[in-house]
Structures are given as structure tokens and as C-alpha cells.
Amino acid sequence: MSGILSIIIAALFSQNFILVKFLGICPFLGVSKKVDSALGMGLAVTAVMVITCVVTYPIYTFILLPLGLEYMEILVFILVIAALVQMLEMLLKKFSPGLYSAMGVYLPLVTTNCAILGIAESVIAKATSAESAGFILKDGFFMQYSMGTAALAGLFYGLGFTLAIVLLAGIRQKVDKLNIAKPLRGFPITMIVACFMAMAFYVFTLIG
């Protein structure tokens, strides 16, 4: 039980993908002008992350590893993710047009998002820790990951992503109305806002 709780805290705060791990910065900067679109993007990322974890974990453990094809992982993961996103988009369009109009437009963007490939790589890296000790996510609990916890990690890392992007969008809506020195407008001021958010999240890394 405490293992699950610590995954949740780590995923939401102390290992936050955007503000602590620097994965998925492009949508963080690009799709954070409005709260609604930030929320749509966040949910799309969360959905794809869960599915990615559920699918790539068995592919790696039961197909690539026994066949000695670990070196193919990047190629396989990126293709699997692209196919999954495409499928999700088609399913949403067919069965839930409302949800599709809310987050469908962000789905193609998700394919080339570092956060998605990042979670696939880090779940796998921890699942086979001996071989990939080089990977940086130093937390130990990915090691005992089974499918369920992998999916749980996907869900909460995705929610952590959503949390950060929605918070930033809320602040940006206010900041963009201010009169700021010309060179600072746009990306630089967003980075500085993100800097203060990262400071707040940094406190969690001290606890965790």
C-alpha cells in the first residue's frame, strides 16, 4: 500500500515529468496559452501514457527480451505508440465525438512527445534494471513493477503532467496581459514563470 502511495506522490510531485524530469517541455510551452486547451492536452497525454505503459511493458518483457532484440526498443516503441495514438483517435471519433472534440486535436501531437517515449523507456529501464543501470530515473520502485503498477505509474505521471500544464496555463493567462519588456515577451517570461513553479515543486523532491 505504501508502495503505491509513494508512486503516486512521486509521479505527481517529486518526480513530476515536466518540472523535475524535463520531459514533454514542447507541449508545456506550446499548448499552455489557455486553460481549456491545456486540460485537453494533459488528458490526451495521460490517456496515451496509460495505454503505452500497458502495451509496451509486455512487448518488451515477452517479445523483445526473449528474442534478444532489446536494441530494437526505440524503433518498436515509437511505432507502437504512433499506431496506438492513431487507433485511439479513430475510436474516439467513432464512439465519443464529444470527447474527441475536446482532446482529439491534441492526439497527433502526443505521438512525438518525449514524455510518452520517456515513460515507456523508464518503465522498461526499471523492469530490467541490471542491464540498463545507466538510465537516470533513480527511484527503486519501478523494479518490482508488474503490469498493474506500470499502468498506475502511467496514469499518475500523466496526471502530474496535466497538473503542471494546467497550472502554467492559468498563470500565463494573467501574465500575457501584462506589459513586459519586449525581449522577455513570449517564451522567456513563460520560462521564468516555469522557474518559479519548479522552485515550488523542488520542495517535494526534498521530502521524497
Binding site: 517541455i25 524503433l75 504512433a82 520517456g118 543501470a133 537516470i136 517570461i189 520560462m191 522557474c195 519548479a198
Partner: protein, 210 residues
């Protein structure tokens, strides 16, 4: 004519369209790796290699790849070269390999590479695409290495891994944290834009005089 085009591509890659400071692409490694200048150089070299190779191959295949499946095709080509880079680096540069960590496989989804494939290599001849890859890669390398030097100096009191003085005596640890990364990047973009604006204004004034 040839020289003019060469100059244009070089200037675009390193200054006018600098992928890091102007286009703000490939931000994840820029923020994540700049705590040490050495790993920035390594990352820059890896990205430049992948960028040149993928640009050349995509440019060669630009008339064969059907328009509808171009993005998946680009990704497969890029992923192949990233896998290659990763294997070579793991075998010959294990220290660098472990310091780049997860950002090495993530070169696949680096927007700079896919962006150049889409906007340059897919409708330009081979030679120019290779040059574009080289100079875009150089622009990226120079930019992140500069940031790496600044952050390493302020946060760790060292230069390229060489300790300048005891960091407990004087260093600003803030610059090694993730918040410091965002601040440094923001200020660098602002500085770059300010300098570029000043140069443009000067050029305009000159044109008006003449």
C-alpha cells in the same frame, strides 16, 4: 551563387533560425542536460550526427515516400540512426552514455530533427540538406554548450568538469536545480532576442542612410 547559398544555410542554422534560442525546439535536453557542459557537447554531437544522416536519407527518398505516410517514415529513419548512435556510444563512450541517460533515446522525438526533415530535407537536394543538418546541429550544440558552461560555472564552480575552486566556498546551487534551468533558458532567449533586435535596428538605420 553556390557560396551565397552556403552562407545562407550556415547563417540560418547557427544564428537566424537557431533551433534552441529562436525556434525553441528540442527543449527537453536543453533543460535537462545543461548542468554539465561536457554532456552538452556529447548531446550536441549526437544530435548533429543524427540530423545530418536523417536529412541526407530523407532528402534522397523525398520523391519516393508518399505524402500520406511521410511522418511515420521520417520517424523510422530517425529512430534507426538514434539506435545506431546509442549502440556506438554505449560501446565506446560508456561515461557519456550514462550521463546522457534517457535523453539519448529521446533524440528520436526531438522536434529539431523531425522539424528539419519536414520543412527542409523533404524538398531540398541532398547536398543542401546535409549542410542544413550540419549547421542546425552546430547551432544546437553551441547554444546548449553555452548554457551548460554558464550553469556549470554558477552552480558547481567548475568548467567542463574541471573544478575551478571548492564549490562549498562559493557557488549558487540554485543554478543546478530544475528551477535554475528554466531561469537560465528564459534569460538566454531574452538576451538572444534583444541582441538580434539591436542588430536588425542597426541594419535598418544603415539602409535608411544609404
Amino acid at each position: 551563387m553556390k557560396l551565397k547559398r552556403f552562407k545562407e544555410i550556415a547563417l540560418d542554422g547557427v544564428v537566424r533560425q537557431n533551433p534552441t534560442f529562436k525556434l525553441v525546439l528540442g527543449t527537453c535536453p536543453t533543460l535537462g542536460l545543461t548542468t554539465a557542459a561536457i554532456s552538452c557537447l556529447g548531446m550536441g554531437a549526437a544530435v548533429t550526427f543524427v540530423l545530418i544522416c536523417s536529412n541526407v536519407i530523407i532528402s534522397l527518398l523525398r520523391n519516393i515516400i508518399p505524402d500520406k505516410v511521410r511522418i511515420p517514415s521520417f520517424i523510422v529513419i530517425i529512430a534507426t540512426f538514434v539506435t545506431l548512435t546509442r549502440m556506438v556510444m554505449e560501446a565506446y563512450l560508456p561515461d557519456l552514455y550514462s550521463s546522457l541517460g534517457i535523453f539519448l533515446p529521446l533524440i528520436v522525438v526531438n522536434c529539431i530533427i523531425l522539424g528539419r526533415a519536414e520543412s527542409f530535407a523533404s524538398h531540398n537536394p541532398v547536398g543542401e540538406s546535409a549542410l542544413d543538418g550540419l549547421f542546425m546541429g552546430l547551432g544546437f550544440t553551441v547554444a546548449i554548450t553555452l548554457m551548460g558552461i554558464v550553469r556549470e560555472f554558477l552552480g558547481n564552480a567548475s568548467f567542463m568538469g574541471i573544478e575551478l575552486w571548492d564549490k562549498n566556498v562559493f557557488s549558487i546551487g540554485f543554478f543546478s536545480t530544475s528551477a535554475g534551468a528554466f531561469l537560465t533558458y528564459g534569460l538566454f532567449i531574452a538576451g538572444f532576442t534583444a541582441i538580434q533586435n539591436a542588430i536588425e535596428r542597426k541594419a535598418q538605420a544603415k539602409a535608411l542612410k544609404a
